[in-house]
């Protein structure tokens, strides 16, 4: 069962070969056994999950089940779910129980999926290693001392270790794709505006986008079918007709034009990563695709632009955590100002505070033009680079991360080194483009390598097709980390 695809699970549930309660118990047991080792979850609530599973079984029995009815889904602890603690891995929200459902949670609920638990992450989604959590670091199932990537590290580790059939994540600068790459699973960040941000705790509003993490492109398509859709409560949600993201999965790749950005292949990535990515490129040629070099001349500016815009928005988005209405409040303080200072000093972790400081600085009077406005101009240039490139190709391909998973603690002391991990992933967020990561081999230490696919706006179905065809020809995505069979 732990190896079954979502389609197979749905078939088994419909045929009553297994019940949702049994399936949910199976994964709850696996979570419990792995928790001490991986720390992938912040909250599990078997009673609640099993109640949902029973409801799903009843629904299936009535013949009203859909493709996800009864299937357990792990959610990143950034999505508000009514009655569930929703912490964003922060001490600030340790005591916060969401009184409402995020749009994404609502959609999964309506589809009859079971909420399996809330996964660990970098605090407020700020980080590339899932070490910045008030609940302790997440560990990569492929290597005990390796990070799982971040910020959706708990979700990626859970899917990799088969603690959940699938999970949700959010991606502001690579937070779905980079952990998917480092944990050897698949993840997609859709076009900005496709998945509602309502109830998804904000890090950087203009970049944040929810998406699924799963074991295959085919599973991602089914999950995206549930997650995507217009929501009038999110002003940036796109009101467009629904689509079936699985519709093109079986399309042959003959005639596919793959763009390879010269900037990505020039230097920067480790040799083991390069070997795996070049192997994937060769595989695509065998599948009938043609490759060509494209230029993304401003790609070198994406990390600096990102680390101005994201902290700027974050500094404002996180102002609501002031100890006044909910969440953490310092136990002792002298006056209002002191309450703010102590509450936020004690409630936020170091990386969050660092970004609030940077963001406050770049928005300050006298610096705004030089940093924030300049970064916005760069952002437009980066988006334009992609538009130009997509005139000549259908998808852009490269490494998701320049290295395989690094060691826990290795980059904690050097934020800039940590930020450079995002070098390939932040540009699609700045441009609002869909992007995904799929496993394409293993590098040093037997750690997974991720292949990065970027598509044009709303090209999700095509990208999933490309990924699915690759996964039909390869088995990287079926490999299981030792000890989790």
């Amino acid at each position: 069962m732990i190896e079954a695809t979502l389609k197979e699970l749905a078939a088994a549930l419909t045929a009553r070969r297994i019940s949702s309660v049994e399936l949910t118990r199976l994964f709850l047991d696996r979570i419990a056994r792995a928790q001490a080792q991986l720390n992938a979850f912040i909250t599990v609530d078997p009673d609640r999950s099993l109640a949902q599973a029973r409801a799903a079984d009843a629904r299936v029995a009535r013949g009203e089940g859909g493709p996800l009815t009864g299937i357990p889904v792990a959610h990143k602890d950034i999505f508000c779910a009514a009655g569930w603690p929703t912490t964003c891995a922060s001490r600030m929200l340790a005591n916060f129980t969401a009184p409402y459902d995020a749009h994404v949670i609502e959609r999964f609920g309506a589809a009859g999926a079971v909420l399996l638990g809330k996964t660990n992450m970098d605090e407020f989604a700020m980080g590339s290693s899932s070490e910045n959590s008030a609940y302790g670091p997440v560990r990569n199932p492929w290597g005990a001392n390796a990070v799982p990537g971040g910020s959706s590290g708990g979700s990626a580790a859970a899917v990799a270790a088969r603690l959940a059939p699938c999970a949700t994540g959010t991606d502001t600068g690579g937070s779905i794709r980079q952990p998917a790459a480092l944990c050897g699973v698949s993840g997609i960040k859709p076009t900005y505006g496709l998945v509602s941000r309502y109830g998804m705790i904000a890090f950087a509003s203009s970049l944040d986008q929810g998406g699924p993490i799963a074991r295959s492109a085919e599973d991602l398509a089914l999950l995206l079918n549930v997650m995507a859709g217009f929501d009038p409560r999110d002003s940036t949600s796109l009101d467009r007709p629904g689509e079936d993201y699985a519709r093109d999965l079986e399309r042959p790749l003959a005639g596919l034009r793959i763009g390879l950005p010269e900037e990505y292949f020039a230097e920067g990535m480790d040799e083991d990563v390069r070997a795996a990515v070049e192997g994937a490129v060769a595989e695509f040629r065998r599948l009938g695709a043609t490759t060509l070099e494209v230029a993304l001349p401003n790609s070198g500016l994406s990390v600096p632009a990102y680390y101005v815009i994201a902290p700027a928005e974050a500094s404002s988005n996180l102002s609501r955590y002031d100890g006044v209405r909910y969440g953490y409040r310092a136990p002792e303080y002298d006056d209002l100002r002191d309450m703010y200072c102590k509450t936020r000093a004690q409630g936020f972790g170091a990386e969050v505070k660092r970004r609030i400081l940077v963001g406050t600085y770049v928005l300050s009077h006298g610096y705004y033009d030089a940093y924030y406005l300049q970064a916005q101009r760069v952002r437009r240039l980066i988006a334009q680079d992609f538009v130009t490139a997509f005139e000549r190709c259908d998808v852009i391909l490269g490494p998701t991360s320049p290295t395989v998973a690094f060691r826990i603690g290795e980059k904690v002391a050097d934020p800039v080194k940590m930020y450079l991990n995002d070098i390939y992933t932040v540009a699609p967020n700045l441009a609002g483009l869909p992007a995904m990561s799929i496993p394409c081999g293993f590098g040093a230490g037997g750690l997974p390598v991720g292949l990065h696919l970027v598509g044009s706006y709303f090209a999700e179905a095509r990208m999933l097709n490309v990924a699915h065809q690759y996964q039909r020809a390869t088995d990287w995505h079926r490999r299981l980390p030792a000890g989790f069979a």
Binding site: C80, A204, S205, S235, S315, S319, R320, L363, H365
Partner: protein, 480 residues
Amino acid sequence: MEWETVIGLETHAQLSTRSKMFSGAATAFGAAPNTQASAVDIALPGVLPVANRGAVERAIRFGLAVGATIRRQSVFARKNYFYPDLPKGYQISQYEAPIVQGGSITILTAAGERSIRLTRAHLEEDAGKSLHEDFHGMTGIDLNRAGTPLLEIVSEPDMRSAEEAVAYARALHSLVRWIDICDGNMQEGSFRCDANVSVRPQGAGRLGTRCEIKNLNSFRFLERAIEFEVRRQIEILEAGGVIVQETRLYDPERDETRSMRTKEEAHDYRYFPDPDLLPLAVSDAWIEAVGAKLPELPEAKRSRYQAELKLSAYDSVTLTQTRELAEYFERTLLAGAGAAISAKLAANWVMGELSARLNEEGRDASQAAVDPARLGGLLARIQDGTISGKIAKEVFDAMWAGEGDADAVIEKRGLKQISDAGALEAIVAAVVAANPKSVEEFRAGKEKAFNALVGQVMKATQGKANPAQVNELLRKKLGG
């Protein structure tokens, strides 16, 4: 030295939408604390704002009414600062690209008509309320008001006296009610002003350093705060001091302004476009549709009253002080149309008796105890000679007290004018016979004596005699 006062006003008008600027919570005043605060208003993690279309439409209405430019794309920005009654830690407002740009308001003072230019008007949300009184050593927070839609209307520094500032505030107050975008309730804070006040030597080109006086929620406070502030600034300057740019608060109990914070203490609000909201797009079609629904505006009415009804500029401005008064006047005119009452007669009664009564009772014209149809009926009886203007006042009072329409009051009280020549002739003859001295004086050329005789006739008829007829009969009798 002669000093010139320079004043600009920033006015917050609460828009009369049922729900808030960015959430679906109700805006009604006076509910129990925090019962009208939704997840969005409380700023729970993960919630997002959605702009209220009704509020945007009201801003467009205002822009059209003041002849401003409506931006086809305006931008919501975040104004960041920490305060317990500001749930998100920022206020959503408009900064660099407000929806309404320019425009003007006409004011009338003793010196005549003037046009005051507007800089801009922008949409924003209100904060909640901090309650310090009821909690020992603590502060209570009521977020019912948080997120209430406001239109902040900013004038150019075009006013030169407290009187002009009040005239502007009144005209603006009247206009926002006229176009039905704000209830204008100043006690509940639906319409409040901040005044930027500076002084400079008469004739100087450069503006003096200004102080901003916050939260003036009555016209009287606005006037007194400005007067105090002008005196304070002039005293400082004449003593050789300098004005410190600062925000000051008016204390009505002590009738003075005092410092809240200086420029150095001012916040850096770190404005930036709100990434949760797309630029606010307003189409030509939308603007056109809003314009088509606008009522006739005060200025248009004024021109029409002067051109078509031949009323004076003063009367036209007075009648258009509020939409209720203007509508009352027009309905009165319509009700008296059968008797062809003159516009001037109607205007005099609306501005005179009616307005006096309304002022006494603190009501507006739509709440008058005598409706326009009844006033029109009364004026028709003046016009057709049934009663004199003097008797009409008595009838009006009776109508106000609820005694029915004009005809009923005239009938019941027997106030019908005596126009029967035979009856009047007898009374005139009797008066002439009883007042030989006056008759003699009149014949000696004293016109005053004639008036005394008229008075005697009116007295004898309890004022019901038709004065024109009395004049005529008396002259005939005296052989004049």
